[in-house]
Symmetry: D3
Subunit: 225 residues, 6 copies
Amino acid sequence: MERVVIKLTGKVFSPENVKTLTELARVITEFKRGRAKVAVVVGGGETARRYINMALEAGISLGWQDILGIGASRLNAMLFSAMLGDHAYYPVPTRIEDFIHAWNMNKIAVGGGLQPGQSSNAVAASLAELLNAELLVNATTVDGVYERDPRVEPNARILKELTIDDLKRVLMQSYTPGRYELIDPVALSIMERASLNVVFINAFKPYMLRSVLSGERTYGSWIKP
Amino acid sequence: MERVVIKLTGKVFSPENVKTLTELARVITEFKRGRAKVAVVVGGGETARRYINMALEAGISLGWQDILGIGASRLNAMLFSAMLGDHAYYPVPTRIEDFIHAWNMNKIAVGGGLQPGQSSNAVAASLAELLNAELLVNATTVDGVYERDPRVEPNARILKELTIDDLKRVLMQSYTPGRYELIDPVALSIMERASLNVVFINAFKPYMLRSVLSGERTYGSWIKP
Amino acid sequence: MERVVIKLTGKVFSPENVKTLTELARVITEFKRGRAKVAVVVGGGETARRYINMALEAGISLGWQDILGIGASRLNAMLFSAMLGDHAYYPVPTRIEDFIHAWNMNKIAVGGGLQPGQSSNAVAASLAELLNAELLVNATTVDGVYERDPRVEPNARILKELTIDDLKRVLMQSYTPGRYELIDPVALSIMERASLNVVFINAFKPYMLRSVLSGERTYGSWIKP
Amino acid sequence: MERVVIKLTGKVFSPENVKTLTELARVITEFKRGRAKVAVVVGGGETARRYINMALEAGISLGWQDILGIGASRLNAMLFSAMLGDHAYYPVPTRIEDFIHAWNMNKIAVGGGLQPGQSSNAVAASLAELLNAELLVNATTVDGVYERDPRVEPNARILKELTIDDLKRVLMQSYTPGRYELIDPVALSIMERASLNVVFINAFKPYMLRSVLSGERTYGSWIKP
Amino acid sequence: MERVVIKLTGKVFSPENVKTLTELARVITEFKRGRAKVAVVVGGGETARRYINMALEAGISLGWQDILGIGASRLNAMLFSAMLGDHAYYPVPTRIEDFIHAWNMNKIAVGGGLQPGQSSNAVAASLAELLNAELLVNATTVDGVYERDPRVEPNARILKELTIDDLKRVLMQSYTPGRYELIDPVALSIMERASLNVVFINAFKPYMLRSVLSGERTYGSWIKP
Amino acid sequence: MERVVIKLTGKVFSPENVKTLTELARVITEFKRGRAKVAVVVGGGETARRYINMALEAGISLGWQDILGIGASRLNAMLFSAMLGDHAYYPVPTRIEDFIHAWNMNKIAVGGGLQPGQSSNAVAASLAELLNAELLVNATTVDGVYERDPRVEPNARILKELTIDDLKRVLMQSYTPGRYELIDPVALSIMERASLNVVFINAFKPYMLRSVLSGERTYGSWIKP
């Protein structure tokens, strides 16, 4: 595998997870060394939450709250870029064109959100399409896609392999809406139109990322395009 | 009314409509003179179609086709900017930040699409939210929102006033999908979350734009937020 | 007074101070309305601390820690810009040239740090010099410059007026180094070479800012150039 | 040969020539693989014509018509960049500095015009000079430089080799001015001052480009510097 | 008169002419105050000469020598911008789009050259066309266009008024080529195609500029379009 | 040695030193070929002096004088970039981020000053810290750090090796302040906090640079971190 886009949940960017972050950076750097191409999109996490809440309290619109969330995701991207050292594309990309630029230049671009009303999952899916990626790795807070919401049904199993239609069905299932957000509709529709190879893994378990990048299918939930 | 975002269909950008375009530019310039604030988003129209088709034939991905469509919409934006003379913000905005910049600077920004997988309608709705616009004018190829597809049922009436929910119902109605595209789901959801005032008018009838900008409610279909 | 540069301590950018922030934004907006010119420099505060600590734990150099602190100060600047609405220069300035640009365009630029190894106080002083400001307002966490460290000697008085040399003497006094940092040597030397008018006030008391901007000398410590 | 600038006529950018375009892209990509350096300048073609005519009808100045023509040439450049895949420098260069940047970075920059009043031929010649190119390939609509206008005299022969002075003489010959425009005076003067190696070939015959890039002198008209 | 483009010879940018420069800046600032629009293009002068000579000695190509000359003209533009204070558009424009931007924003852009192989006279003429200027002031080292080279024939008279064709005839006259360079062919052709109003005055006599900007026709040589 | 930042005194950028400059460029290019990474910071020299004096005479502030000095140093950087040919990162970096970008892209960035109130020595030290350089070469007008001011005491010896504290002591010694400026306090403090390896050599003796880059410790004064 030589062309990979990785989405990292913003939740991993917090003081108690610095070791996880440095380990994720090491895995990606090692993968890159072997002439592979990588782009990384990170979420806003706790910092985004903090600024969105301040904006909300100040009566600032949802659109501007999105912009602050994007700003927070870029701060996370700066930190992760610093961890990648010379391999990183710097400064942090702020337009889709910057990601393409970095990819063609053979550097690892680490970016966050790009536009209000567009999730970082949608950015990652769009990039995977544009960059003709062989795999989109979606590293979240859980080990994969569960047949049922694992917080409600602790015995729910992870689906090792599923189609886009399976994924839609799982996402639309009966549990409380908004509680278990793996992926949004826009990201989903890009995944579908571009027939992307996607795997969902846990960002807090860097060995899963190493395994997936080495071509194994041991961990995570794999979407059959 | 002092804060307006206007979406112009790309279909009006063709050699046979130059008079319509210059008339639209005149209406907007006159409105602007009275200290109003305006931002304009234009579609890609025929030029977009042309380049997307070439890309398709060459086996280039949907994501890149979107990028070419965006490029075409920016060419339309350049032409319309030239028609606005000194009132235009130039060069053509390529990021949402540029639109905000121009608005705060009190110039008319004319831009096109911004990101693959995001319609120019979504850009316009997002801007209306960020800029705290009093009205989003959606100038399309028809006089407003019809209760039924006017191409199928010639007697269908225009709905003078409707709620977002009415609009959704109309859009989801039984006629052939994809044929009668007023607005996409992302644009719709921004309209909803930001409680935008929206009116649909016909871009090919510039007197409708003049009427709407002067505060009248004679033409078009008005969405009650 | 028509030309003012304001430095806001980053410490005011936290969830419990949103009301203070919106009040500061209101004071500045009102001042601006009267054709005055303003530029604002904000610090990184808690967010900077958070990212610098993560970088430190990850073994990232002091230079990159500065860059992350700058990134955090820019996130604060984004939030404050959103509070200023149409009056703000947007996007957030990242070079000294952007500040000059915004000033000449008559918009309020809100920025953070610019370069590793340079404090936001130094940025504010440099701006005040370049923009030929009549006053540099340094809004910190205390009500002014105390004759002695107020945390050590609770009865220490605020100096109403002092020369640059007085200020240097106070800063170099016998209390624990690093504990009471009003201003760094680089900022101090620019203040001196440019004979800047400077006042130190408390950012957490917005009425002080309003008073100072209205031309009164009721609050704060004033530096005689 | 390792350093080549290629000028492609804008006329090749139309729906009926997509196969020619993809073939030209393939030839350039293969050449690039062997560590060669390439920069490409494309004209505006039919799209430029379309927008220039609209501007003309709207009473917009010749200067702005040039700018629209430049915009159209950049849209062509975007399409051709997409065809080059990872080898392309992206986004499309808009300043001469971007071309130099791309060249030094070892990527293929595909750009269009740069300034009103300057032809894309002049851009290509200027680049060949700045980049110290071994060859400037001028791919037009005809097989080379004819001793007389081939549209007037069908038996006119192609000149295999000619000096700059020969070229000037041919261009100034008696046939109707403006009808047979191979090259403009500014481009010509740069070719002369920089003693450039130039070959004129037919863009619609990609095998000519392949032959020329492989070092053969079978096709086209060669200018002796 | 409300729309003026001014070309200042680079020769006025030298230590012995600082008073002339500040006087020119004062004249332009006063003119600007009355709601007029101005753009300024400056040449490279002695500094350009210095760097071009160094490049020449180092064996660097004419194209790069042009780029250094452009760099020098921008340094002159920086100095002149500083003299204009808040009225200046800053940073110095480096693309034609920046000049348009500044003009529409109502600020005075002071720029230098833009592209290798293009004179600053051509930049000024192109701007005058794009910005729809009422007058292009060409401030050189002499008082106007002489009927014959004043250095050869000291009694040569200044032509108060002349057509573009007269100007061409004068420029092509028999005196030594290259010695008396008022204007280059590209600038001339833009002046012609755009029917520009042009006046040639002496940059070293700021009262001439003041007179011309106040609408008088007392000094200089005026081109009838 | 594979990671080096070089500071070149601006004094070497003058017509009589073109041979020295081309020789310095050759030494750096050869070093770069062997996969090493290099960044270069140059001073403003005579050109800076010239423009600063003009600004001073025109009554322009010290801050703007700094900006003009920075502009001059960038002109020097353009000239030196042209000498490096394809190895140079172009255009000249104007932000610290551009230097990092170029470094990660494996090109030689040649830049000048970045901010008013910050010396080019401080820029070079900051870069050496950020880029994790193995050596910072400070090429000045003398052969190294003298135990006493060589202009006052001709027999003063060069210190082959010294600590940061030794360096501080030498700089603070009794001779006339301001006369013998090797390094400023900000640069010194970055050198100290980052424990940089630094060597002071003579820019006018390119063999010293060659020797130092080849890993020898024959010439110059070496700072023990």
